[in-house]
C-alpha cells in the first residue's frame, strides 16, 4: 500500500500536465421569444428541454487552460450536427462546406449548382466550423466560442 501511494504521488503531477491542463465544454441553448406584455417580444435563452423543428439554437464552447504552460496552435473544430442548419454567429471561425476538407470564409467558398454554375456558399451549406486561435492561450486563461443554428 505504501509503495502504491508513493507511485501515485510521483505520477500525479505529470498526469495533470499531460491530459488535464486544457478543458473544453459544449453547451446548447434554445432561443425563445417571450412576450413582454407591451406588445414586444424578448428573446431569451433557455435550457434545451423543449426543442422542435424550426427552433433557434445557440451553441457555446467554453475552453480553459488550467495548466501551468501556455497552450499554442489552439484549434477547435465543430462538425455541425446533421439536424442543425448553421445560422451564423461565428464570424471569427473558418467554415467548411465539404466535410472539413477545405476551409475559408463563406464568400470565398464556392458551390457548384446542378446547372453547372458556381455560386458563393451560404450558411445552409456549412458542414463544419473551425476556430484557429493565432495566439497561445496563457496558463489560467479561458474563453468562449459560439455559433447559431436552427433545428431542421
Amino acid at each position: 500500500m505504501r509503495i502504491f501511494l508513493t507511485l501515485l504521488a510521483i505520477l500525479a503531477p505529470s498526469m495533470a500536465l499531460a491530459a488535464n491542463n486544457v478543458t473544453l465544454s459544449s453547451l446548447v441553448f434554445v432561443e425563445k421569444a417571450v412576450p413582454d406584455g407591451a406588445g414586444r417580444k424578448h428573446i431569451v435563452l433557455e435550457e434545451p428541454k423543449s426543442v422542435m423543428p424550426g427552433d433557434r439554437l445557440v451553441f457555446i464552447l467554453n475552453y480553459r487552460n488550467a495548466g501551468r504552460l501556455p497552450a499554442s496552435d489552439f484549434v477547435v473544430t465543430n462538425p455541425l450536427p446533421a439536424a442543425v442548419v448553421y445560422q451564423g454567429g461565428a464570424e471569427s471561425a473558418q467554415v467548411s462546406i465539404d466535410g472539413g476538407r477545405n476551409w475559408g470564409t463563406l464568400p470565398a467558398l464556392r458551390v457548384l449548382e446542378p446547372d453547372g454554375r458556381w455560386r458563393s456558399a451560404r450558411a445552409e451549406d456549412v458542414t463544419h466550423l473551425r476556430w484557429v486561435l493565432k495566439q497561445a492561450i496563457p496558463a489560467g486563461a479561458f474563453g468562449k466560442l459560439s455559433f447559431r443554428g436552427v433545428v431542421r
Partner: protein, 357 residues
C-alpha cells in the same frame, strides 16, 4: 453562466432581424431524435501536440403535432335529388415530425351556414368515409377503401379522403347539405390498428421527448387551436329542375259553325296543349315524358300530336304555337310523348287534337 446568457440574449435581440426568417420547414427533424454536437480541441504545449479533447452535448427533439384537413377545390358539389355516392374530397396532411395515426370523423351540419355560403337544410343518407386507395384523386367505388382512421402516416405525408353519401329524392333545387371532416392525431405505434389519442405533455418541459400541439383551429365544432385536431368543411348543393305543368284546351271547329265561333258539340275538334316550364336557375330537365289519358268521350285525331313546340305569353292565357315536330303516340287510350331537354327558364309543349264523340 447567467452572464453569458445575458450577453447572448442581448446579442440575439440585435441579430434576430438580420438572420431573417426561419428556413422553410415542414415536419423537420424527427421527434425523439437526439442532436449531438461534438467539438474537438487540438493544441500544443511546448511545441508538442497534445491529445485532442472532445466535448459534446445532446438535445432531444420534441414531438410537434401539426395536422391539416383541407377541402379539395373550393366549390360545392352539385348533386341531383336521389343520386347516390356523391363525393366531397379532402386532403389530410400530417405536418408533425413524427409518424402518427389520424382518426377521422365525418359529420353533417344541422342548420347554419355551410362551407360555400348556403344555409344547411338537409342531410345526406348513408354517409361514409373512404381513402383514395389508388391515389388517383377521385373516388372509385369498390376500389377506395372505407376508413375510420388513416394508419401510420409519416411526417409530411398526406392522404385524400372522400366523404360519400346519398342525396334524398325529396331534396329540392338549391337545397344545401354541409359536411365536415375532422382528423385527430393518434399514436402511430403499430400498423394495422388505430393508436390511442395523443395528448399534449402537461406541466413543465422535460429533457425527454415532449409532445406539443401546434395545429390551428378549424371550422368543425369542437376543433380549437392546439387540440391535436384539424378539420375543414364542404357542402353539397342540390341542382334540380323546377318543372310546372299546365294543360289548356281550345275548340278549333265544329261540324256546324266551322271555325267561326265553334261550339263544343259532338264532332267538334278540340286542341289540347300541355305546357312544361322549367324555372330560371334550375337544372336542365332531360327525358321529360308526358302521359295524358284521353277522355273517354273523345277520339284522338290521327297524327295531330306535336312535341317540343314553343309557347307565347304566360300560362294559362298564352298561346300554344304550332311549331313543334310531329311525335307522340296513343296506346290504350293514353297519349304519351317525350320532350327534349328543357333548359332552365325555357318552356316546351305537347300539342294534340281530339274530336268529341
Amino acid at each position: 453562466m447567467s452572464n453569458i446568457i445575458k450577453i447572448l440574449a442581448v446579442a440575439s435581440g440585435v441579430t434576430a432581424g438580420v438572420l431573417g426568417a426561419t428556413p422553410a420547414l415542414a415536419a423537420g427533424t424527427a421527434a425523439g431524435a437526439t442532436i449531438t454536437n461534438t467539438a474537438t480541441l487540438n493544441y500544443q504545449v511546448g511545441g508538442v501536440a497534445q491529445t485532442a479533447i472532445n466535448a459534446s452535448n445532446n438535445i432531444t427533439v420534441d414531438r410537434k403535432i401539426t395536422l391539416t384537413v383541407a377541402e379539395v377545390g373550393s366549390a360545392t358539389t352539385s348533386v341531383a335529388p336521389g343520386s347516390s355516392a356523391q363525393v366531397t374530397s379532402f386532403t389530410v396532411t400530417n405536418s408533425s415530425n413524427d409518424t402518427i395515426d389520424l382518426g377521422l370523423t365525418a359529420a353533417q351540419l344541422s342548420g347554419g351556414t355551410a362551407a360555400h355560403g348556403g344555409t344547411d337544410n338537409f342531410d345526406l343518407t348513408g354517409l361514409g368515409m373512404f381513402v383514395d386507395t389508388n391515389g388517383n384523386g377521385s373516388y372509385d367505388a369498390g376500389t377506395d377503401q372505407a376508413v375510420t382512421y388513416l394508419d401510420e402516416i409519416a411526417a409530411d405525408a398526406s392522404r385524400t379522403v372522400f366523404i360519400v353519401g346519398n342525396v334524398p329524392l325529396t331534396s329540392a333545387n338549391g337545397d344545401v347539405a354541409g359536411v365536415t371532416l375532422v382528423a385527430q392525431a393518434r399514436s402511430g405505434s403499430g400498423a394495422g390498428s388505430q393508436g390511442a389519442v395523443i395528448t399534449e405533455t402537461s406541466g413543465a418541459n422535460t429533457a425527454a421527448m415532449d409532445t406539443v400541439f401546434a395545429d390551428a383551429a378549424g371550422p368543425a365544432s369542437g376543433d380549437g387551436a392546439r387540440d391535436g385536431k384539424a378539420s375543414d368543411d364542404d357542402d353539397y348543393t342540390v341542382s334540380a329542375p323546377s318543372l310546372t305543368v299546365t294543360k289548356q284546351s281550345r275548340v278549333v271547329s265544329d261540324p256546324v259553325n266551322g271555325s267561326t265561333n265553334p261550339k263544343l258539340i259532338p264532332g267538334a275538334v278540340v286542341e289540347y296543349c300541355i305546357v312544361v316550364q322549367n324555372a330560371a336557375g334550375s337544372a336542365s330537365a332531360n327525358s321529360v315524358t308526358i302521359s295524358d289519358p284521353l277522355p273517354a268521350q273523345t277520339s284522338f285525331v290521327t297524327a295531330s300530336s306535336f312535341l317540343n313546340g314553343t309557347y307565347t305569353g304566360s300560362t294559362p292565357t298564352g298561346t300554344c304555337n304550332l311549331d313543334g315536330t310531329a311525335g307522340g303516340s296513343v296506346a290504350a287510350g293514353t297519349l304519351s310523348g317525350t320532350l327534349g331537354t328543357i333548359a332552365a327558364g325555357t318552356t316546351r309543349t305537347l300539342y294534340f287534337q281530339v274530336t268529341i264523340n
